[in-house]
């Protein structure tokens, strides 16, 4: 008995200590990044020379960064929307219907999850080269759908359970067409999952570097711009760009949370 008591006392203490250590580790580079984005001098390393906004000014004035930001937004938005749409439809087909080759099709859809981005990016590069197509953001978008759609598919599939099936059957009994059922009943019922899938897909697309690096030339996404920024000199402009992205992400998360919370309260 005494052993159990001591353990249950110490457990949370050690646990709390360990978790704090983990959080410190996780946040360390971000704190360094944000701190030195306000660096007064040139080099983003100690000593810290008083807060200054010059690197943020440089980042906003840098046309490449702004272009990259917009391109990343576009590619992320379009590829995520496509991924969620196609993934949802596919999950619906697998979950509600039975047809020959169903298992094989599901395996094909999930397959890209098991393959590294390098292979996907290289495949697209080699194919475009073989077909005489130049590098372009559309190829990157297609590649991002390849990596994200299986995720959206899996998330939707996990959510399309028995509960929705019964409501759908009832709606169909009342005369609703398949599409009506799909968009008026099923989609809203799993709306949180759809939103979560969209956000996840967007996060992955936003940060994806390799497929974008291989398949773009002048119109590039933000990670590629930052990679080339790093090649272009030792200064804190990258810090400012990274901190700004971080800030945007926090704001986005707050907006999504508010949207979701508002939905729930209704």
């Amino acid at each position: 008995m005494r052993g159990r008591f001591a353990l249950s006392r110490l457990g949370p203490i050690f646990g709390g200590f360990y978790m704090t250590a983990c959080y410190v580790f996780i946040f360390l580079p971000v704190v360094v990044l944000v701190l030195f984005s306000f660096q007064g001098g040139n080099l983003p390393v100690p000593p810290f020379n008083g807060p200054s906004l010059r690197w943020y000014q440089a980042a906003f004035a840098d046309g490449r960064l702004v272009d990259g930001f917009v391109n990343s937004l576009m590619v992320g938005g379009v590829s995520s929307a496509l991924s969620v749409l196609i993934g949802f439809l596919g999950a619906y087909g697998i979950a509600r219907y039975d047809f020959p080759g169903k298992g094989a099709m599901q395996a094909v859809i999930i397959l890209p999850l098991a393959v590294s981005y390098l292979l996907i990016g290289m495949g697209l590069l080699v194919s475009a080269s073989a077909l005489g197509l130049g590098p372009s953001l559309w190829i990157v978008t297609a590649g991002h759908v390849v990596i994200n759609m299986p995720l959206a598919f899996a998330i939707c599939l996990a959510q399309l359970g028995e509960h929705q099936r019964r409501v759908e059957a009832a709606a169909r009994d009342l005369g609703a067409s398949t599409f009506r059922v799909l968009f008026s009943i099923t989609a809203p019922m799993i709306a949180p999952a759809l939103i979560a899938a969209f956000c996840l897909c967007f996060t992955f697309s936003w940060d994806e570097t390799l497929i974008a690096l291989l398949n773009t030339r002048f119109e590039v996404t933000l990670p590629v711009v930052i990679l080339s920024l790093l090649r272009g000199g030792v200064n804190a402009e990258t810090n400012a760009a990274g901190s700004f992205i971080f800030l945007c992400s926090i704001l986005l998360m707050i907006v999504v949370e508010l949207l979701l919370l508002r939905q729930r309260r209704r």
Binding site: D62, L73, V78, I185, A191, F218, G232, V234, R266
Partner: protein, 361 residues
């Protein structure tokens, strides 16, 4: 929870998102096509907005550039491109003959450029011309010798070319990742003439280079090695020169470079126009802009790396000239060797040698 209103909400939100998503590409694409563009293959020192924007504004053109860090990379990019994809090239001038022979460069008219203001050694026709025609215009030069942290190693020790191989500096050395000057520097350390490397020299060079890599902590491109030296991760940079130290002179006055008593290697960049370019007149204007005193001043103090401008009328403050060691240049030029002018076969051999040493353990 009413499914219908939720559905309508969701549908509305998705539609708006979709429309925005569709509208943005149209906006961006049409914006980009409104101006003409000039596609430039260049080293990273031509990427500063302060350098490019005056030209872009004055000529209503957008400059698209792609970063390269060797002539081999230029050829690789050209191999992946169609003719007309690229207009201007910034390259090591020693490769002018090779690219001109391959028919990649368009002949230029010397009258268009301020050759009167360029020192004779830099304007050497051997570097800029091929078969009597001008193909590239010199724009910037500097040295690949050894840069170091004055507070960590002594200048006296670094004046011997063999210093980076010394075991007492193990893991404190960085090697600049450009095979041409590094192999030449190694050849110099072996006592050979770095402008006359033959096949017979290669095995000895490979061994000496491997020994250097074994003594080094890292091998990196322009920015990583600058950073390593700046943060004190390494104390010695083989292949370094003012291009590493000058830009950081204010923040890091402890960084210096020296041409060893055995000599050093000199890099020199030139601007050329691609034969397949559809924009040759704009390309020429760009070269003239870079060669102008204002352009030369900004190029010399580029945020990626500094270097000596070819045009001695370049607009620089006395402090900047001091950092660049303006007055010492004639002496430096005399004791340094230019890059190797290679045949394509020799280029392949040197690249293979470099890859073998760098990828091996």
């Amino acid at each position: 929870m009413e499914p219908r209103s939720l559905a309508r909400n969701l549908a509305l939100r998705l539609t708006i998102a979709g429309l925005m998503g569709a509208a943005l590409p149209l906006g961006v694409v049409s914006g980009a096509q409104a101006q003409g563009s000039l596609n430039v293959l260049t080293w990273c020192d031509h990427e500063d907005p302060t350098l490019l924007q005056p030209f872009e504004a004055a000529n209503g053109v957008k400059i698209n550039y792609k970063d390269i860090s060797s002539t081999a990379q230029i050829l690789a990019v050209l191999g992946q491109s169609k003719p007309g994809d690229w207009d201007v090239v910034v390259m090591d001038q020693t490769d002018t003959g090779r690219l001109a022979k391959m028919g990649l460069l368009a002949p230029l008219d010397a009258k268009d450029y301020p050759f009167a203001d360029i020192p004779a050694e830099i304007a050497n026709p051997k570097l800029s011309s091929f078969e009597g025609k001008l193909y590239t215009v010199p724009e910037k030069f500097g040295y690949n010798t050894v840069a170091f942290d004055k507070t960590a190693v002594s200048e006296g020790a670094m004046s011997d070319i063999q210093a980076p191989w010394d075991p007492k500096y193990k893991d404190r050395v960085a090697v600049y990742d450009y095979y041409v000057p590094e192999i030449q520097y190694v050849a110099l350390a072996l006592g050979k003439d770095p402008t006359a490397i033959s096949d017979a020299d290669l095995p000895a060079i490979k061994e000496k280079l491997a020994a250097l890599k074994a003594n080094a902590a890292m091998v990196g491109d322009v920015t990583p090695v600058q950073q390593a030296l700046a943060t004190g991760a390494v104390d010695i940079l083989v292949g370094g020169g003012e291009w590493v130290t000058a830009g950081m002179a204010k923040d890091k006055p402890n960084l210096d470079y020296i041409i060893p008593k055995q000599g050093g290697i000199r890099w020199q960049q030139g601007l050329g126009v691609f034969a397949g370019s559809n924009n040759k007149s704009m390309a020429t204007k760009f070269i003239q802009y870079i060669l102008s005193p204002e352009g030369q001043g900004k190029l010399a103090t580029s945020s990626c790396y500094w270097g000596m401008p070819a045009n001695n009328k370049a607009v620089l403050t006395p402090e900047q000239k001091k950092i660049l060691r303006w007055d010492d240049q004639p002496g430096y030029i005399k004791v340094s060797y230019p890059y190797l002018q290679m045949t394509p076969e020799m280029d392949q051999k040197l690249q293979a040698l470099w890859a073998q040493v760098m990828q091996g353990k």
